[in-house]
Every structure is written in structure tokens, then in C-alpha cells.
Symmetry: C2
Subunit: 435 residues, 2 copies
Amino acid sequence: MLPVLRRGISILGRDSPIIDIGGRRTFLKLGAAMAGGALFGRGAAEAGTSDAFPPQDAPWSQTLGPGIVDRPYGQPSQFVKDVIRRDVPWLTASKESSVSFTPLQDQTGIITANGLFFERYHGGRASVDPQQHRLMIHGLVDRPLLLTMEDIKRFPSVSRIHFIECPANGGMEWRAAQLNSLQFTHGMVSCAEWTGVKLSALLEEVGLKKEAKWALVEGADAAHMDRSLPIEKCLDDCLVVYGQNGEALRPEQGFPLRLIVPGWQGNVNIKWLRRIQIGDQPWFTREETSKYTELMADGRSRGFTWLIYAKSVITFPCPEKPAKGPGIYEIRGFAWSGKGRITHVDVSTDGGVNWERARLQEPVLPKALTRFTHEWRWDGKPALLQSRAVDETGFVQPTIAELRAARGVNGIYNNNSIQTWQVKADGSVFDVQLS
Amino acid sequence: MLPVLRRGISILGRDSPIIDIGGRRTFLKLGAAMAGGALFGRGAAEAGTSDAFPPQDAPWSQTLGPGIVDRPYGQPSQFVKDVIRRDVPWLTASKESSVSFTPLQDQTGIITANGLFFERYHGGRASVDPQQHRLMIHGLVDRPLLLTMEDIKRFPSVSRIHFIECPANGGMEWRAAQLNSLQFTHGMVSCAEWTGVKLSALLEEVGLKKEAKWALVEGADAAHMDRSLPIEKCLDDCLVVYGQNGEALRPEQGFPLRLIVPGWQGNVNIKWLRRIQIGDQPWFTREETSKYTELMADGRSRGFTWLIYAKSVITFPCPEKPAKGPGIYEIRGFAWSGKGRITHVDVSTDGGVNWERARLQEPVLPKALTRFTHEWRWDGKPALLQSRAVDETGFVQPTIAELRAARGVNGIYNNNSIQTWQVKADGSVFDVQLS
């Protein structure tokens, strides 16, 4: 005998007398023994078996919406207008050389939506005319070339899903700024499907001389952003791309052409790429001497620290997405490594005393964001959530204490340490560092 | 001795005296024997070795661009404003029950950008408040449920990359409308990374009664779009999703909640999903009797033809992206199958007389768009380009003649036939059908 839908319950109305099912059952079938284990909140209630939908239709069920093609290029719902890139106003001296952060707390899946991909500018967002743009490849080559976008698109194409991370991601944490926000502690990493040409194919076309050891890659933006790259990396897996998640690169990511240096820090993935010069030694540009180096405690500087080492972070719960009462939660997060595939992620809820293996979402791709999930039965007591990533080389994500011991606290770059989220009894989540 | 950059050559200027390198070499190192084999056009020229970039900088290299956060939610470049969804005005009686087509000719990679995902409305684009939205699951279940969005997001999450195709994609081709456009012959297929909850997890939560054989799935739009689905498919791989390419579902794709029925025709992937009723037989709704059935030549109708069979299309060259003179081309295209993975794609340049195996871009995912590429040395003579997909079940994409012989030409649905592009001597490309 099935219950009949009770009169007066509006399925869609805002003020419905919805019945809380309390701790009676859970989606994970773990039994009723859990203390205070309410999975569902205000919305969970008995529903009926009538063939027709309940008495009150919502407004959008009663009125035709806009037709075709109201928006030839689509936009997010008006109800998610707070899911945006954000900046930290005091972080940089100028708006033109600054950063914005991806709202990782709202990112579903491994692909970052193009509208939310983090930004890092050195001279503002260049607006480049693709008809006029050229890529010059010259230096220690047999046949220097000047290529149009049309030329580049004629080369064999490849697509790869890769993350890009600014090495300053987490930089404010070295001295424990505690912004208490996932978006600001980790939001300078994003991931997309990139489409373009293998850099090795372009270098094969121009013909490298035997002295060729380094490449200077340079952007067309007003900053003329440039970096030196070892030729081995250029010939390995670098891409010169024009596509991002199925469409043309966004201006924020270097339209019409950028370099992708898989697994290496963001600034070497030169945007608005206009020039590749081949040489026999690095150029020691401003961007790799006074910038993007790390002053060590002993006064020396680390340079050419391109590689992003294994890293991870829990994206739920997090400061922006607190827990809501005791119960069963799916802890969710991202892991990534510039050295290849993530092999596993361990999760701790007690600040690193005990660890459990998380589940990885397939496909697990090299040098791409990898989604992990882990079931957590929260008893409502304060907890310390951590995740620890391990990659296919066996590299284990370190603690912040280990990083500080090795490098001091002068630098701002390459903080790949384990993040600790403190969950308080009321479910609120805070950015903390364990000694 | 390397050439010095010649004075007066502006790398970035529109009217630069760029030197055509002619047929001197090709990117594929196939030698100089090819008749008229110019790979590069107007932009390919000798470039110099000066450390500094050439005399004239482009405007965007001389002026700071907009800073952070000029656009908290990003937009495409002003230079790609013609890459948009488009409709065929005469195709449908009303704008509210109509379709728009994805510009596949410009899609890089397997992910369709959210702004360009094709649309199909039955009552316009509903604008649903996620705070008020509910999903009801009832009928032949032990514990009917009414779920808020927050409830649904508490369930274990999964992400999958899947295509969605309207069964009317290619429908105008049954009678050879010859719109001469890839966007209009094939643009009702798109692909995204979807994130949500397994429908099987929700059904486990409510508890199916042993008589449960079918599910009625219903949308909250004004059309109350509804379809019957066999319970086996529901328990297999269906998803109830809230995420699309890393962000919330777009309103066009059912924000805040839609059903994903992997590999099955678009209309059963109910958008704005508000209700799932479990029963012991199909409902024979309007959408599966008078609509979405196919009138055969003998007067009978085919119904419940949910599955998308293996299909493919060449996206370059195509009517919108013609060839430009003899030379080496990379033929590019998409293949997909609702039955699983694509195992191979063959390409013909002579209308199906001879076939060669194309290269598939990894990762090849089940029920997802798969990118294929194939090298083609075009001699400049008229050609007939075709692609033919085969999936892991061994199903081979048929010709339009085979489909017409089997089903007649009364229907508009499920045209998965081999597309023929005629390349004329001037490089222009036309939609043709071979007898």
C-alpha cells in the first residue's frame, strides 16, 4: 500500500511544510546507528504516487521560456552569478600585473569552465587580432619561419587535457596569511582540453641546429613576457595551442595562440605566443632572475624551478562550503602532478594521524586535474581534514613544515604542501596550519 | 651564416611583404615531388635571428590591456564572434519549440564549450530557481522522496564525458535538403563532462519494488517534457547531473538538474528534471507516440528508438572550412557511438571506393565524441571525402542508401549515415549524396 500524496504539500513552493526524515536512513545504507546522522535536510519528504505532478506548478512550468536563438553564445544561469573569478586587492601593486582565482569550491569535474579559468597578467589582457598575429621561429635553426594562424592550423593537430598552475598558488600560505578561502589558497590552478600543434613538429619544420639547447619563448602582450626553456622539454610534450575546451582560446588565456608546457609552472606557458628563438644557453630574462626565483634562507636563490610537484586539496568541505550537521559526507577534492599521473590520494580527518585511501575518478590523465572522493562519517566533533597526493614517480606531497624546513619562508613560490581544513563543531571550516 | 632580419619586414603588420615559400618544403617531410604542394600561404617567410623582436610592435604589444578582474566571468574574443549557435528559421513552427546547432566546424577537441552546446527546446529555455527546485521520486518504490538540490549534491558524485545528440540531427538529409553546412547537417551533437549522481544510487535510496520495470522522467519546463525509460537503463549508467564542464549546468542544458542517458537520443536526457515515477510499463507519452517515432514505408511506426548508433563526420575540410589549393591536409572529424567506444574510423577520398585507417585521439571514451585525423595529399582534383565509424560492438556506420532501403524516407530521425563532402577543384566543399 503506497502513501497517497498529501494535500497541501507543494512540491515546488518555497514555504512547503517539508518533512525532515532525520536519521532514519542514509544513502549509503550504513544503518541507523549513526549519532544524529541526518543525511537529508529540509527538502526530504514523503512523495506520492499520483500520475500528475502536485497541485502547484512553479512559474517556469507555466510559461514559455525564451526561444531559439535567444542567446547564440550561451551564459550561466542568473542564479549562479556569484560563481566568478575573484582577486585579492592588496596582493599586487597594479591591476594590470595581477591575478584572479578560480572558484574551485564550485568546480564540478576536472574541466575548468572557460569563463572561470584563473588569470595571470603581466601587462593586462591583450586583445590580439588573429589575422595580424604571427609566430616567428628563428635562431639556431636551418629554416627560420614566420607563421600565420592559418599556417599553424594546417599542421597535424593534437588535443590534451592538462592543468595550468601559477607557482604563486598558495604563496600567501608560506607565512600563514589564512585568507580562509579555498578560492584564494588554491584558485590559481585550472584545467582544460587544449588543442593545437606539437612544438616538436614546428621545430622539426624549422630544423634545429646541433648546438640548439634552449628556446626563448615570448608573448605579444605589452609585458613581452618571456622565458627560457630547455630544448628537451620543447621536444617532449609542449604544445602550441589555439583551442581551449572546444572553442578558440580565450583572450585571458592567450588568444589566438599560447604555449602549453605540460606540468610546468604557469608563467612558462607563454600566452599570445609570438616568438620562439632557439639558442645554446638560457637567456636569464627578468622573468627568470628577478622574478620567479626563490630566495632561500641562506641568501641564495633557486631558479628555473619549473616543475609542479604533486599536490592536492579538499574542495568539499572547505571554508566556502561548510558541513551542515553530523552525517555522512563525501569528501571531494583535486590532485595533480607535473610529473605525470596521480596514482593515489590519501585522506585524513584527524590532522594526519590516520590516513585512508580515496577513490580516483576515471579517466586519470597525466598532468591533469584528478578528482578524488572519500566517504566520511562525521560525528559532529571538531576535525582536521587533509589530503595527500602521490604521483607515478612515487613523489609524496609534503607538509608545510617540511617545505619551510627545506626552503625557509622568504619565497612565495611552489607551495605544494598538504592543506589542513579545520572543521568546527558547527560545521564551519577554517584554513589552519599544524606545527 | 644566418640571415639577418631584413629591414622593412613588419612581423605583425597587416600589409607586410610576406614571402611565399611555395612548394619548397612541407611539414610532413614528404619531399618536394608533390604537384603544386604549397603548405604555407601568405604568412610563411624567412625570419631573422635578432634578439629583439622586429621593428614594428603591434598595438597590443605597446599598450596595457584590461587588468584584474575586468571580467569576473570570461567571454570569447571579439574576433570569434561569428562562432555561434545558429538555427534554420524555416525548420520549426515556433521559436519556443525549436533547435540551435553547434558550430562543429570550429570545435577543437572533444569538449563542446558550454556557450556553444546545441539547444533543443519544447517550451523555451526555462529559468529555474535552484532553491525552489525539487526532484520527486515516487511510484513503485518503498520510500518515495522529495529532494532539494542540496540533498542531491550530498550523494556520491561521479563525472563522465558523454555526447548528447538529437535524433533529428541529419534529419534534413533524408530528403537531401543539402543545406551545404556542417553546422546544419551535424550540429545537433555536442559533448561535455557531466557531474552528478548515479540514478542507480537514487533508486537504491528509494528502494524499487519488484514490479518496477519502467521510469517516467519529467521536466519542469512549460512543455513538461516526459519520456519512459526501461529500468535496466536507469540502473546501468544514467546520471542525474548538476555540473557541465566544471560549472553549474547551463540553463540551455537544464539548470539546475538534468538527466543524462548515455548514448541515447537527446530528448530522453530530460532537462530541468523534476520527477521520476517508477511503474511496471511504459507511459506512451505524447513524446514517444506522436513525436519521436518514425513512420516506415509500410505505414507502421518505429518507437522507442532510443539508441544512437555509430556515426562520424569530417569537420575539416567541410563547406564552412574549404581547402585552399593542392597540398597536404590533415582531414579531421568526430566519431561517436551510443553503444560504447569507437574502435576505428576509416576515411575515403574517392567516395567510398578506397578506405584508409584514421588516427584516433586519446583518450577514446565510451559514448563520447572521439576525434580522428587522417593525412591527405590533395592533388587539386575533385574529391569525395567520407568517414566511416566502427564501434566496439562491431557496428559499422551505414550509407544513406542503406538506411533509405531499410526505412524509407518518411522519417526524420536517426540518420547516422556516412556523410559525403564533395571537394571541387577550387577547394570549395559541398554536401552531396551518392546514389
